[in-house]
């Protein structure tokens, strides 16, 4: 069984920061066959689930982009970011590799344009639209991954 893991993360009380979570929730609703996890921030214990998956998506808000995007990543210990509370997706992959000797065959960061981080439970209009676009990107990537076997 080829497992897909979707991790959406962010603070749902800080406006667009919730974009990743909203996208993961939509994927869970539309495609319940995928394992979707919503978290406030990435934590070391996710390493085990990642090690058990074949395809992984980390979905996050990104204020530096104007379009949703998918970027393939590989394990990397980000030495300039050594704080475990803010472990990066690349570092989390390294953790999976070093602790469980296993990493997924493909891992993507999905970035969603975000601009408003004030106290709010609402996404900005642009981010709302981008969340839907990001979901489509993820679904297409899952299909294409499954078709490649």
């Amino acid at each position: 069984m080829r497992k897909t893991l979707v991790v959406g993360y962010g603070n749902t009380l800080r406006g667009d920061d919730a974009a990743g979570i909203r996208a993961a929730e939509l994927i869970a609703k539309q495609h319940p066959e995928n394992n979707c996890v919503c978290v406030h921030q990435l934590m070391p214990e996710l390493a085990e689930q990642i090690a058990e998956s074949d395809l992984v998506f980390f979905i996050d808000a990104d204020e530096s982009t104007s379009q949703p995007y998918a970027r393939l990543i590989s394990p990397s210990i980000n030495s300039d970011q050594p704080h475990t509370h803010f472990i990066s997706p690349e570092s989390l992959l390294s953790l999976s590799q070093q602790l469980y000797q296993s990493i997924p065959s493909k891992v993507y960061i999905i970035g969603i344009p975000a601009s408003q981080f004030e106290f709010s439970e609402e996404l900005s209009e642009k981010t709302k639209i981008s969340v839907e676009a990001a979901v489509e990107i993820v679904i297409e990537l899952i299909k294409s991954h499954l078709n490649s076997f």
Partner: protein, 477 residues
């Protein structure tokens, strides 16, 4: 020329913060400030929301200790409904609170502080993290992750979601516990107990290894505040507030948590968004007090579980004739003792037949317009104070968080460390010294998690200013 050295953000704590170190004309450390840059606007944000929404909303403030806000908010709701919750509901809330302690303490000890201890304060910062730990002791690291996972799994099982679960509510909890889930949780106990014992062995070796550092790590007398049971035992969910001083004198006891505001005030400083709570009778800033593991293990007369009680006695022996362990470095030891207590107590609760009761919620409408909830979050005592109208709409909310209550103490701790380790005449601070200053803050395991975590939102720099405010140097860590 006086200089200010800015270290921002402080790494391996939760949220955004920086430390500035002020040197005087003689290049000696004259002042140190721990700044918190994030504004906790959640109190304002909740105005106009319904009381019943509050547990769900406030638990989303924090990704590290959501269950503590959930439980405390629900307790404030109980007060407003004027209900006594069913026995099973209280036991389930207690279970949730202990699971929160366990996962939070495990993260703090194994992953945030152990890199300093096991790899050394002066080790290469590029490897002084969880990956360095794996290289040094893979099994220890893995066990730490699994211990945290155990706590997380309890939270997930009880609340069906790992974070931000709206499972506890004013009046009790939403759902009873299924027997199969109870058995699953009990299955974790032997491994969890073994892991905590390993942590305790490790911390004792650490005490021997860092005999030079420990005396300068926030070693001062202050008030200590926390909950105790009716007869003075360690408490985490209910009970009374007790205040002791650094000489083991009981300053106040049996304080109703609902009356916290009669005893504690909140000062503000223009250079930090974090409030500075203080004990009113001693005024600000003399009313400095510490909360959390160090305070709790110090002020209680006993711990009800046998293994943790034995460790508490070893801990208390560190105080010599004083009767109180005043050094903030021993927060880590107290944290390990509390992990042991949490595992033992979780086992006791799960073996209690009442945990499977099905009456878990008392229903009522608004009976009071003001309510206070209080519990011990991993970092210390937490208060939620709400005012509502007759329909249960929040008119005003005050959240007194544990991290803020340690604010004066954290500032004093970093000042002591900086003054001891920094030689201003050399005009340079080594990375190892900066790390010691940060490690002083990490003793308290502060949580400032109202921040955003979006990609590209985490700057990281050390800045050096002169007395005119001119930037002399800036380095990225």
């Amino acid at each position: 020329m006086s200089k200010t050295i800015t270290l921002a953000p402080v790494t391996r704590i939760e949220g955004h913060a920086k430390i500035t170190i002020q040197l005087d004309e003689n290049n000696d450390v004259s002042d140190v400030r721990f700044h918190v840059n994030e504004f906790r606007g959640f109190e304002k944000f909740t105005e106009g929301r319904l009381l019943w929404e509050m547990p769900g909303i406030t638990s989303r403030i924090c990704g590290i200790c959501p269950a503590s806000h959930l439980v405390t908010s629900s307790k404030a709701g109980d007060d407003i409904l004027a209900v006594e919750i069913p026995e099973t509901a209280e036991k389930l809330r207690r279970l949730l609170t202990l699971a929160q302690w366990l996962q939070s303490h495990a993260l703090s000890f194994f992953h945030l502080s152990s890199p300093d201890f096991l790899l050394g304060f002066d080790s290469d910062p590029a490897i002084r993290n969880v990956f360095g730990l794996i290289a040094a002791d893979k099994e220890f690291t893995k066990r730490g992750i699994r211990l945290r996972k155990f706590g997380q799994e309890i939270i997930e099982i009880l609340g069906s979601r790992r974070i931000h679960t709206p499972w506890t509510v004013p009046g009790g909890v939403r759902d009873p516990l299924e027997p199969a889930k109870k058995d699953y949780m009990l299955g974790w106990i032997p491994e969890a107990k073994e892991t905590v014992q390993l942590a305790l062995e490790a911390i004792k070796k650490i005490h021997k290894k860092y005999q030079k550092e420990i005396p300068e790590f926030g070693n001062f007398r202050s008030l200590l505040v926390g909950l105790v049971t009716k007869d003075g035992g360690l408490e985490y969910y209910d009970g009374y507030l007790r205040i002791k001083d650094g000489n083991d004198n009981t300053i106040a006891d049996k304080i109703e948590p609902k009356k916290y505001y009669e005893h504690f005030g909140e000062a503000v400083e223009p250079w930090s968004y974090l409030k500075f709570p203080y004990y009113k009778q001693f005024d600000y800033p003399k009313g400095i007090y510490r909360v959390g593991p160090l305070a709790r293990v110090n002020i209680c007369d006993y711990i009800e579980t046998p293994l943790a009680e034995a460790e508490r006695k070893v801990f208390k022996a560190l105080s010599g004739n004083v009767g109180v362990v005043n050094n903030s470095f021993y927060y880590h030891y107290a944290r390990c003792i509390e992990m042991l207590f949490a595992v033992e107590k979780i086992e006791m609760l799960l073996n209690d037949p009442a945990i499977l009761g099905t009456n878990v919620r008392s229903m009522a409408s608004i009976n009071r317009t003001e309510g206070v909830g209080c519990s011990e979050a991993p970092r210390g005592v937490l208060f939620h104070h709400y005012y509502v109208n007759k329909d249960g709409v929040i008119q005003k909310a005050n959240l007194v968080i544990a991290t803020a209550q340690n604010n004066i103490a954290m500032n004093r701790t970093v000042k002591q460390i900086a003054a001891h380790f920094i030689d201003g005449k050399k005009g340079k601070i080594t990375e190892g010294i900066l790390n010691r200053v940060e490690a002083g803050i990490r003793c308290y395991d502060p949580c400032l998690s109202c921040s955003t975590h979006a990609l590209g939102k985490m700057p990281m720099a050390v800045e050096l200013f002169n007395s005119k405010g001119e930037l002399l140097d800036k380095i990225n860590r």
